[in-house]
């Protein structure tokens, strides 16, 4: 018995040694096996389909973004030079195509100055958001250039404008009443986009960008349909997105009215030949005005007074309506939707869960905390909704005033707010043709003929 006990540890060691040897042989055989991807990324195994190991794209070098900023600045300089100094429609068009390729298809439409408005708004609304310097420049550069040269950014640099410029091959005039009415939408959209960005709800301008799916050659089916619809409309209606949706266009339209320099239709003196009258597919040419007959002046003054009196009332009405719309506006905020869903689930009003409510419950965060956050968000929307309503009222009021004011113009001039400096009208102007030499020979011949007739 004692001998057996003494031998027991020895037997144990022998057994362990043999086990170690067998494991060592196994281990040696396996030593050559390379590491498997499934060691790192577990792959579900629902079907026979071999799920490829997804590799996240490499982080883009920040140099690309700064290169885009540099190219944006260069393109703005070139666009301003071509549109204002060289008056070259071909040059502007070539630059448009180049910018479409770079900022649109190569850079896939991001960062774009239109979306950058929202980054700026978010930075103003949320001190915790760090606004990248390159994004700030993407917003500021077009604004600064517009203050000096008009909307040359829209003319040749903006990739969204470029798509529409390229497809506008059969443009027709949009009735003035419709054009003015739809022209208010960008200002409303701007207010809405700023509200949603400042409340960290989302970047709606980017979400509903009709062209980004085209630039990236992939995207949500509905957005592809929307993009295709805008492109199709753009064949006949010049730049529909720029004129009736673009929030940056609204900002630049205001800046352009105060620009130091701006493109002109006639290079020198306008002869009021009317040849350019129907040249602009964007309805951005203002006709010369005649003095109003004295009998019509009292009525015009009454209209102006009415519009001036109506403007503050519209702002006030906007404040009231905006306050009432706070809750529907807040519905787009993900936290608001989540809280409502969670509460409905808790009350048994809906069956099952959504991914969002499931994720929320997995965090263990109390529902009361979520509700408190949402109440704070809704309070923000009540304030923001009033501001938005006031803004919309102001826009409508100013539009009414603008429609009643009769400007004094002797020449055919571009409407500084609406003109995108594309240069389409240049070639319609006889002065331009003269300057370019197209009519020089005719002028010389006419003067020679006159001299021959005059001489005996």
């Amino acid at each position: 018995m004692v001998a057996r006990e003494r031998l027991a540890p020895l037997r144990g060691r022998i057994r362990r040694a043999s086990a170690l040897l067998s494991w060592a042989a196994w281990g040696t055989a396996l030593a050559a096996v390379p590491a498997r991807a499934s060691d790192i990324i577990p792959v579900p195994d629902f079907t026979d389909y071999r799920v490829p190991i997804s590799v996240p794209p490499a982080v883009e070098h920040p140099g690309w973004e700064w290169l885009s900023v540099l190219l944006l600045a260069l393109a703005l300089c070139l666009a301003s030079y071509l549109a204002l100094a060289r008056r070259s429609r071909r040059g502007v068009y070539a630059l448009t195509v180049a910018c479409l390729l770079w900022f649109g298809f190569f850079r896939e439409g991001c960062v774009c100055p239109i979306g950058a408005i929202q980054n700026v708004a978010l930075a103003l609304g949320d001190p915790g958001y760090a606004l990248p310097a390159s994004v700030l420049l993407f917003f500021l550069l077009p604004v600064v250039f517009t203050l000096f040269f008009g909307r040359t950014f829209c003319a040749a640099v903006c990739p969204l404008g470029a798509v529409q410029e390229v497809v506008a091959v059969r443009p027709v005039q949009v009735p003035r009443w419709l054009d003015h009415g739809l022209g208010l939408i960008p200002f409303f959209y701007l207010g809405l986009a700023l509200l949603y960005a400042a409340t960290a709800t989302g970047f709606v301008v980017c979400r509903y960008d009709p062209f980004v799916a085209i630039f990236r050659l992939s995207g949500n089916f509905n957005m592809l349909v929307f993009g295709a619809a805008v492109v199709l409309i753009g064949v006949f209606v010049g730049r529909p997105y720029c004129r009736y949706l673009c929030p940056l266009g609204a900002v630049l339209a205001v800046c352009s009215r105060a620009s130091k320099w701006h493109v002109r239709i006639a290079p020198t003196e306008c002869t009021r030949c009317r040849l350019c009258e129907s040249s602009c597919p964007y309805g951005a040419i203002e006709l010369p005005t005649r003095p109003l007959p004295s009998r019509m002046r009292p009525a015009a003054r009454t209209r102006l007074a009415t519009a001036l009196g109506l403007a503050p009332l519209l702002v006030l009405a906007g404040v009231l309506v905006g306050g009432l719309l706070a809750l529907p506006l807040a519905r787009l905020h993900p936290e608001d939707r989540l809280a409502e869903r969670v509460l409905r689930e808790d009350q048994g009003l809906v069956e099952g869960t959504t991914d969002a409510s499931e994720a929320f419950r997995n965090t263990g965060r109390p529902v009361e905390e979520l509700v408190a956050d949402v109440l704070a968000i809704r309070a923000g929307f009540r304030l923001g909704g009033r501001w938005l309503g006031a803004w919309m009222g102001l826009v409508v009021g100013l539009k009414l005033i603008a429609l009643t004011v009769r400007g004094k113009r002797e020449d055919y001039l571009p409407d500084r707010g609406r003109c995108v400096s594309c240069g389409r009208c240049y070639k319609y102007c006889p002065e331009e043709q003269m300057t370019l030499g197209d009519l020089r020979e005719q002028a010389e011949w006419e003067s020679a003929e006159t001299a021959e007739v005059a001489s005996p």
Binding site: W23, G27, I40, F226, A229, L232, F236, P334, P430, E441
Partner: protein
């Protein structure tokens, strides 16, 4: 000269065509296009409330995975012992027979018949347990993995102190095992196995990635990381992210591995399984999986031999309602093999220890 004279005729003045007006038909077509575009935008499903739109082929369905061929089930449940604790966390077999269960504020001991033997009051919740066998320096000593270290208890339950050597703020002990003069613990936070002597002096750290020794390291996506020593002196470690069980010497040399990631019953399913395992006296492995809870037995070489408990047995609500929400709570929190090679399953949902024995065994005869 004649050419020049012809060129300057007034009728040939270059005049590009202007932009014409919009016809009624065109206006109608454009309006229709605008409406289509608007409807498309308004119907964008920003919150995924209308589903993915993919066919049923891509549906996230567990149906097939929850059912197990009855022919494969070689065990049956022969007993169930409730654990009178508000929560249960860890299970360990006592070498002489019986088992220990830890939960909030206590460690409870049971004999082989399920009668309570000891209650040790602790602060907090022990996350793992081990009981020393006769081969250990201190037979019968209880080791408990606590949030702050490894606490020792005499067989009667008196605390004998705690050690923290090798632990840091990232440490999260999920499993303990004892062998001769060694105590080993799985540290899920640092993804290593710590090896101490019986006094708590750190001897080695096993499993740090070292390509020169063919050690790839452990992939531990969640807080499930189990270890076990067998009488052959080889350490087995569950590498849950790799869905494998690996073998190491106590010096940390990699010996081999088995296991395959698969939804089939033969493999380990999900992100990180097996969540727990134990070794029977003949060297076979008992594995427990979480997510789709199931307990199986594999041969020493890693071949599936039989199924001990099916998802239907361990989490019937999962099968009945498909309500994943309610059953995301881990159903199984540990497996152990007692001295009689009965399989003990710590059922977290029922807060009980469930006992499984082979079909056709002595208990079947009765």
């Amino acid at each position: 000269m004649a050419g020049k004279a012809r060129k300057v005729q007034r009728g040939e003045l270059h005049r590009p065509p202007g932009v014409g007006g919009m016809s009624g038909v065109l206006a109608l077509l454009l309006a229709a296009t605008a409406v289509i575009g608007l409807v498309a935008v308004l119907r964008v499903d920003n919150w995924g409330e209308r589903g993915s739109g993919l066919s049923e082929r891509f549906e996230f369905s567990f149906e097939e995975l929850l059912t197990v061929d009855p022919e494969l089930v070689g065990y049956r449940e022969t007993g169930q012992v409730e654990v009178p604790l508000s929560s249960v966390r860890a299970l360990a077999a006592v070498p002489g027979g019986g088992w220990l269960v830890s939960g909030e504020g206590a460690i409870l001991g049971f004999d082989a018949q399920g009668a309570s033997t000891v209650r040790i009051t602790v602060t907090g919740e022990p996350t793992c347990l081990a009981v020393a066998g006769e081969d250990h320096t201190y037979p019968g000593r209880i080791y408990a993995g606590m949030p702050s270290g490894v606490e020792r208890f005499a067989p009667g339950g008196e605390s004998q102190g705690m050690w923290t050597a090798g632990l840091d703020e990232n440490s999260r002990l999920t499993s303990l095992t004892v062998f001769e003069g060694s105590v080993l613990a799985a540290d899920a936070g640092n993804r290593v196995v710590l090896h101490w002597d019986a006094e708590g002096q750190l001897l080695s750290v096993i499993g740090r990635p070292d390509p020169s020794r063919n050690i790839r390291g452990f992939t531990v996506p969640s807080g499930f990381f189990d270890v076990a020593m067998f009488a052959d002196g080889v350490l087995r470690v569950a590498n849950p992210g790799a869905r494998r069980i690996e073998a190491y010497t106590l010096e940390g040399d990699f010996l081999g591995e088995w296991g395959e990631a698969s939804a089939a019953i033969e493999g380990f399913f999900g992100c990180c399984n097996p969540s727990h395992f134990a070794i029977l006296s003949d060297g076979r492995f008992v594995t427990a999986e979480k997510g789709i809870p199931r307990v199986k037995i594999y041969s020493e070489q890693g071949q599936l031999e039989t199924v001990v408990a099916t998802p239907e047995q361990l989490s019937p609500r999962l099968l009945a309602s498909r309500a994943f929400r309610e059953d995301q709570t881990t159903a199984v929190l540990g497996v152990a093999a007692d001295a009689a090679d009965r399989i003990l399953v710590l059922d977290a949902l029922q807060r009980s220890v469930r006992i499984f024995e082979p079909r056709g065994g002595s208990s079947d005869a009765t």
